[in-house]
Amino acid sequence: MADYDRRRGGGGSGGGYNSRKRQRYRDDDGHDDDRRGGAQRRRYDTPPHVRIRKQLLTIAENPMRPWHEEVRSIADLFTSNWDDELLRGNFVDVILQLAVEQPLKAPFLAAVVLVANTNKPEIVDMLLPKLVANIESRIRDGEWRDVKLYLKLLACLQSCLEGEGVFPVLEELFARAGVLQTASSEDTIGTELVKIILLTLPYVMVAAPDQWQQKAADLMDKTEIIASEPHTLQALIEPYHAESPDDTSASSMSLIGLLQNQLQTEANNGWALPCLPRPWEFPPEDVEQQTKLSNPPKHTLPPISVPEAVVAGPRPLFPEVYFSVYRDQDVESVPPVTNAAASLIRDALLDTINVLDFNRNITARQLIEVDCFFAPRTFTTRATPFDRLRDIEPPKSTWKPEDIAVDAVFSQLFQLPNPEHKLIYYHSVLTEACKLAPAAIAPSLGRAIRYLYRNIHHLDLELSARFMDWFSHHLSNFGFTWKWTEWVDDVSLPDLHPCKAFIAGAIDKEIRLSFAQRIKNTLPEPYQALIGPEKEKDVPDFKFANDQTPFAAEGREIAGLLKRKAPDEEIQPVIERIHALAIDNNLDPLVTSTDVFVTAVLHVGSKSLSHVLAAIERTKDRLTDAGAASEAARQQILSSVMDYWSAHPGVAITIVEKLLNYSILVPSVVVNWTLAGFAGKTQGDALGKGYIYELVFNTVMKVTGRVRQLVNKKLAAIGTDDVTTDDETVEQEVKGMRSLFRDMEDALVAWAQLSKDEMMEIGDGTDRTEKERMVKRWGDRWLRVFRRRAAIEETFLIEKEREREKRVAAAAAAEGNNSGKVDADGDVVVVEAAVAPADAGIL
């Protein structure tokens, strides 16, 4: 354990804020530099190539050290050890690796190269061919982020490049974008290319000021056509879902459209770009170095070839919108969307976040230290309370570094259709940031939470579910403390009100991660009633324990038989007795016996999930038969599960997941039971319940994951002997998925338009109108989520079909050449193989 804590930092019992530990963590991690402790701890025997690696790795992290000093000292260390071959090679490799692994540091690395260039121009000749080769290979693979990051490094080197430097590459990329966009309005690669061009341009302009205005203007004239045109897919990924057409606050701007306008403003201002760092600028007293840098040895950039057909790469591309949780404040704590700083800082932070997913501690640290990597005076002092921003005199900045950092993480958490990594990664980054700098981060998170809560009524339903999930998970890492008092008035709102639905859903999720009594203790009095006594019971009541319940004796008898693992032959007579009794009482015999049997199984397995899973495993034949008997019986299985575990829906959801794996339940049953059955029975109330949404969403994701897995597997099998996935299976699954989406569409349209008979029974007058309005709105929100999911899966299928055709053609060509071996491009397979449970097999 001790080892572990030291390795990870912030560990041990409780706290984790303790600075001694963090210090120790840094030391052990090799991320310390001269800044800590002051004294030079470096031993004389550390070889230069190790020292230089270490210094490059931590470049710009020390806010007390002037950039030009640090840059020069590294460059000097490098040039004075020029004869060290190991050092020369390592230097180039480390710079290239850092450019894509720690994107905030690119300008500083470029500055080291530029200074070294004035002394040993050969360094640039060593760097450029490797850089160009990397750019070309990433373009080939469609690794667009890496392309962007390498181009950013290259852009920062513009001043030492011959001729037009980076511009020909940008123009070449634009040519591809133009072709793609003309060919299809749904193209997303072209959009991505334009984004890359626009994000590279500012770095060129600060690296070589006052030289490229005309070039930049020409390029931006071209990009405007693509950037200003709203993308056809944008409506799909819009995070807000307006309640009515005049709800204009709920619309976002396309990222490239915004960027185009911001850069236009910059162009009109002579490309001032005050936020970008210029570590290659030396103070006036250092005029000698500055002169050298102004007239550096120039180098020819080797031509970068861009293939005629560019590919989308391993990650699906979608247009992006600019999302901010600090957008409607009276004081600007983040850059306004009219300012290029908003896009440039956001872009560098997003790359940092998404690249460094393998170490959330470092991600969090770089986020907190964002002010180290941009020009001085871009931000206000760290941890300035929001209320104090008002007192800041212009032209001093009011931008809070922690707001900008937190905003970037939220933009990922709330990205549609999906961010790059699992949502929990972004949770963990916020947790770590909060642990590292609680005084700075916690208040920013608080304001973000309030913004989201305030806007929850027009947040896309999928995103409001993400909000609920993050909120409860975050609180579980910080003792479940939240200022619940400020929402006290909302407790009395109707359950269908989005705010009340959020409160109820969040509390349920908190309880799932903890237990009812604990959560109750964290809540003010008015909330207590939301946690009923049934939630505090370890095991739900067995309804057949009560003699008043019909079939109580039979229920107890079956439970007894199951408990002593009696053979099925002993259970059958009891089931038959239930059938007979049910017929006598005018009940559906199959439904009745299914309820008794399933409830008994759940009761026998009530002690823990292991127990219930074992009980299901033992009775799966009978359960499968019950489900096969009739649609009503199938729905009854689900109904019994949800009913038995109604106080702990999390358990019910897990059980249903396993029943789906066993094919005891099928996805359409989940959809029909929730959207027709349960929602009908509750007159629409079910649509506002977080766990009902979760149940359906998980089920749909299971189906789509399965389809994706099969399609990818089939794709990978082209040109190989693998025949395990036949066309029929895939077609069957795709058909099943489409019909599931159709069922949902039908059921949800009915709710959104309220053509449901059930609503007739609601009271009358204003209450009724209000309830109708709310139910319709929930139907509409659900509909939007699942229409989007359906559209995304169709897009996926189309793309894969195109790829399949390509590969079949390639395989045929290879066959013709009799070369035998086909390049099946394993990459795609590796990346996507992880979608669905591989041996869950059946759904």
């Binding site: 912030g10 790795l57 990664y425 963990s428 579980s476 991660l513 702990h648 992880a834």
Partner: protein, 186 residues
Amino acid sequence: MRGPRTTVERLDRPSAYYNSRNKRRRPDHQRDGDDDASNHAEPEDPLRDATTLYVGNLSFYTTEEQVYELFSKCGEIKRLVMGLDRFNKTPCGFCFVEYYTHQDALDCMKYIGGTKLDERIIRTDLDPGFEEGRQYGRGKSGGQVRDEYREDYDEGRGGLGRAIQSERLRDTERQDRDDGDYGRLR
């Protein structure tokens, strides 16, 4: 190692604990291999496709349901095995979580290891796979070894280390007896 050394440490590597135990089993596998070490056939890495995680520092009171709730955020759980006291068959503060994919297990290392469950920082470690028998504590008194001699009072894990507890109990008993004897002699 997969790929070149990253510029920051990766959190999805097996722990020092795992590596040290493994090294002992394979004394021929030198840490500071010389340059031609790469020519030796790399021994098959038992964690290469690992889908299981060892999860430690749980409270004795943490339930399976709580583990499911948190760990499902990294992917569907295939199997969960709670660690039990060898004698009492009660939870003793660890478990094995098995996912369907290796990637989910790696993500769990990166995103869940070192965060809190039931208000305790938990640790995760990649594991070559659960085998029958491993669900039991290997400590002398039935729980985990670390709970034998732990000197800090941990409410979630039965207070002080069990060996210390029983030692103190013996001491008190002896003292009681001594006191008693002393009393009688007077």
